[in-house]
Amino acid sequence: MKRWLAAYAVAFYAFLHLPLLTLALFSFNSSRFTRWEGLSLTWYAAIFRDPQILEGAWNSIVIALWATALATVLGTLCAYGLWKRNSRTLTGALYLSLVTPEIVTGVSLLALFQFAFRWLHWQLGLYTVVIAHVAFSLAYVVIVVSARLRTVSPALEEAAMDLGATPLQAFWYVTLPALAPGILAAALLALTVSFDDYVITSMVAGVDSETLPMVIYAMARRGASPVINAISALITVVFGALILISERVRKT
C-alpha cells in the first residue's frame, strides 16, 4: 500500500501544482496562442504598458497597506483582550465573519455604505474598500495572533507587575515583543487576503478605485490572455515568497 500511496501523492501534487506551473511557463511564450514558439518577455513588458493594470496594481497596494496596518493593530489588541478573558460573543462573531459567504459580506457592506450615504454626502471609493477589507481581515489577524498568545505564559506579565510595571507597560515591554513573530505573520496574511480579494471589493469599490483583481477578473471573463498569465506568475511569486517568509517567522 505504501507504493500506491507514494504514486498517488505524485499525482496529487501534480494536480495541485501543474496548473500554476504551466500557467507561468506560458507567460514566457512569444506566441499569444497556446502553442510554444519561443522564450520571450513580451507579455511582461505589456503589463507595464497597460495603464489600467498599473492603476489597478497601485490601488491594490495602497488599499492593502492601509487595510493591513489597521487590521493588524486592531486585531492584535483584540486578541490580547480576548487572551486576558475570552468573550464568547466576540469570538463567535469573528468565527461567523470568517465563514460568511464573501458575496453576502460584499452586499451587506454595500447596503451599509449606501445607508450611511443617505446622511453623509460621500461616495464609494478607495476608503470604502479599505473599511471593507479591515472588516473581513480582522478575524484572520485575531486567529493568528491568538495562536501565538497561547504559547505566552501569563506568569511573565505577573512577574513584571510584581516588579512594579503598570498593566500597559507589562503589555508593551513583555508580551508584545514575544508576540512580534505572530503579529508579522498575521500582517502578511492580512496583506495577501486584502490584495487578492475580488468578490467583496467589486461590490464596494467606486469608479476610481478599481483594484488589480478587478482588472484581472474583467480580462479573464473575456477569455485567457498571456498578459494575465504574466500578471498571475508575478503575483504568485511575490505572494508565495511573502507567505514562506511569514511561515518561517511564525515558527521562530
Binding site: Y13, N86, L90, V134, D196, A224
Partner: protein, 274 residues
C-alpha cells in the same frame, strides 16, 4: 478604564458597525418592498415567499448538490494525500507546505489557471489536438463540470489539513494491533483509520462545504454565467436585477444555513479559535 476593556473597544466597534449593522440593514431590506432605486415600506415577507418559487428552489438545490459533490470529491482526493503525509518518514513539513503554497497564492489566479487550461484554444485541447486524439476542441469550460473542478481545486487544502491533523495524532499501535489480529491493509484502513479520522473528516467537510455553498467567483468565471448558484443569485439581485429585498432575503437564508452548520460543528469541537 481597564486595559482589557480599552483594547477590546475597537473589536466591539467592529462588531457593532461592521458586523451587526450591515446584517441588521440587510435583514430590514429583506422585509421591505422593492422600488425603482432601493427599498421602501410597506413591510412584507413577500421576498421570503418568493424563495419557495420553484425557479429559486432549483438554484438552491443545485448549489447544495454542487457543494456536496465538491466536498465528496475533496474528501476522496484529500484522504490518501493526508495519509501519505502523515506516514512520510521525512519531509513532512515540506509536503504540508506544498499543499498550502497554492492555497496561499491568489484564489483568482488559481481559478484563472483553469480558464487557461480548459478553454477551446486552451492547453488541454491544444495538446489533445496535436496528439490527434480529437479533431474539434472539447467543450471543457463554461459548464457545471468546470465549476466543480474549480471548487475542488480551490478548497482541497481545507480538507487535507484537518484530516492530516487527526491522522497525525492517531496511535500507530492501533494500526499494528489490527494487522496483528489479521486485518488486511485495506480492512485496517476502512475499519480502523477512517473511523478514527472522523473528527478531521467532519471538520474538513464543513470547511469545504460552507465556502462552496456560497461560492460566487468560481461559478461566475468557470461557469461563464451559465451556472447560476445561490451566490450568483445574490450578486445579480443587488446589481443587474436591482431587487434588493429579494437579494437580502437570499443572503439571510444563506447566512442562516451557514450559521446552523457552524453551530452544529462547534458543538463537536468546542476549542475556541483553534
Amino acid at each position: 478604564m481597564k486595559l482589557r476593556t480599552s483594547f477590546l473597544l475597537p473589536a466591539w466597534l467592529w462588531l457593532a458597525l461592521l458586523f451587526l449593522a450591515p446584517f441588521a440593514i440587510v435583514l430590514a431590506y429583506s422585509f421591505l418592498t422593492r422600488v425603482y432605486v432601493g427599498v421602501a415600506p410597506p413591510w412584507t415577507a413577500e421576498s421570503y415567499q418568493r424563495l419557495f418559487d420553484p425557479l429559486y428552489l432549483v438554484i438552491l438545490a443545485r448549489s447544495f448538490a454542487i457543494a456536496l459533490a465538491a466536498t465528496a470529491l475533496c474528501l476522496v482526493f484529500a484522504f490518501p494525500a493526508a495519509l501519505f503525509i502523515s506516514r512520510a518518514a521525512r519531509f513532512k513539513t515540506l509536503y504540508l507546505q506544498l499543499v498550502m503554497l497554492p492555497f496561499w497564492t491568489s484564489f483568482l489566479v488559481r481559478t484563472y489557471a483553469w480558464i487557461f487550461l480548459l478553454r477551446d484554444t486552451g492547453l488541454v485541447n491544444t495538446v489533445l489536438q496535436a496528439l490527434g486524439l480529437i479533431h474539434a476542441p472539447l467543450p471543457l469550460l463554461y459548464n457545471d463540470g468546470a465549476v466543480l473542478l474549480g471548487l475542488v481545486y480551490g478548497y482541497l487544502p481545507f480538507m487535507v489539513l484537518p484530516i492530516y491533523a487527526t491522522l497525525e495524532r492517531l496511535d500507530p499501535s492501533l494500526v499494528e494491533a489490527a494487522a496483528d489480529l489479521g486485518a488486511r491493509p485495506l480492512a485496517t484502513l476502512f475499519r480502523v483509520v477512517v473511523p478514527l479520522a472522523r473528527p478531521g473528516i467532519v471538520a474538513g467537510s464543513i470547511l469545504v462545504f460552507i465556502p462552496c455553498l456560497g461560492a460566487y467567483l468560481t461559478p461566475d468565471l468557470l461557469g461563464g454565467g451559465r451556472t447560476v448558484l445561490v451566490g450568483n443569485l445574490v450578486q445579480n439581485q443587488f446589481t443587474t436585477a436591482r431587487d434588493w429585498p429579494f437579494g437580502a432575503a437570499v443572503s439571510i437564508a444563506l447566512m442562516l444555513i451557514v450559521t446552523l452548520l457552524l453551530i452544529a460543528f462547534l458543538r463537536r469541537e468546542s476549542e475556541p479559535l483553534a
